[in-house]
């Protein structure tokens, strides 16, 4: 098959390689083959190879995906593949992006848990069937791969936008009964380029490899901000 791979940084271009097809071949296998057999200077990032770490996300035929969990059979178009770095992130080299801004936005959205209990307190008992716990469950499995961020139109238009992953994280904490920083967090996500900037295009939900719905979390944040504002708490 013919594989076009992005080379160099933002001002780079696609380089073509001829890669042999293998049974059950993943896109990560293709990239690894190119680096090991054709061009050892190719830079890319991966770790677990089994869809746990989220570090191998790239743009495959225009769509952000985990390359380790994407079989070539599923995405091959006319015997060719185009593999590029994730969009909406600065390119360091070839297929490697700089994710600093992506994770800084988690911090900006107050993505850190802030508990109010001390070691003298008993364990918090959160019933697994409670509405809040179920809302946390719906968003908690995010592994920070950046696929949703790369798929988001609003991030592309407004680079300050916190993005689906950071807002999803904020939503899980807002729903966490043990957390005591809700108001502070709502203020952080309601500002310019926060949850109100989301246009509900659902690209993040469509592309999330974990089948999460950051869109639903962002809608939840909008509702929560609204109710806090109406109560005069914000």
């Amino acid at each position: 098959m013919k594989v076009s791979v992005w080379r160099s940084a933002a001002a780079g271009s696609y380089q073509e390689f001829e890669v042999p097809r293998q049974p059950s071949q993943t896109v990560l296998d293709v990239v690894t083959y190119i680096q090991r057999a054709l061009d050892p200077t190719l830079a890319y990032r991966y770790a677990c190879r089994v869809g746990m770490c989220g570090s191998c996300a790239m743009t495959v035929n225009g769509v952000p995906r985990w390359t380790c969990r994407t079989h070539v059979d599923r995405v091959l178009q006319k015997d060719s593949l185009t593999i590029g770095p994730l969009k909406n992130l600065p390119i360091i080299r070839d297929l490697v992006t700089d994710m600093t801004e992506f994770f800084d936005k988690w911090a900006r959205a107050k993505g850190q848990f802030k508990g109010g209990a001390t070691k003298q307190d008993d364990f918090a008992r959160v019933p697994p069937q409670s509405e809040k716990r179920k809302a946390v469950d719906d968003g908690i499995e995010c592994i920070g791969c950046g696929v949703c961020y790369a798929a988001c139109d609003v991030v592309a238009w407004n680079p300050d936008y916190l993005g689906p992953a950071a807002l999803n994280r904020a939503w899980t904490l807002v729903q966490d009964e043990r957390d005591v920083a809700t108001l502070e967090r709502l203020r952080a996500v309601a500002g310019d380029a926060g949850c109100h900037s989301c246009h509900t295009h659902l690209s993040c939900t469509e592309r999330c490899p974990k089948q999460l719905s950051p869109t639903a979390g962002i809608a939840g944040l909008k509702r929560k901000v609204l109710s806090s504002a109406l109560k005069g708490e914000l």
Partner: protein, 112 residues
Amino acid sequence: MSYRTETTLWIAQRASAAVLALCVLVHLVTIIYAVQGGLTAAEILGRTRGNAAWFAFYAIFVLAVSVHAPIGLRTVLIEWLGWRGSLRDVFLVIFAAILASIGMRAVMAVFA
């Protein structure tokens, strides 16, 4: 403080959207009804002139447009042109004032 501004603008836009949804529906139904009966412009004006209910309805319609459109345009200006700052806000206030004034001019034309 930006969170208060953003939240207020968001609430204003959603609330005005809800008002507009109702206003557009009533407006369209009224047009279709008026045309079906073969009403002339003079006959329509005969019914709207001096009618406080129609005046109130269309005044609210115009007000909702004047609130809704500039907030949406603000987002477009940020996303497409990256235009932020007080000059943009002055532009949007002028835009809202123009919408309100030409809208109210039309309302007055069928009421007065």
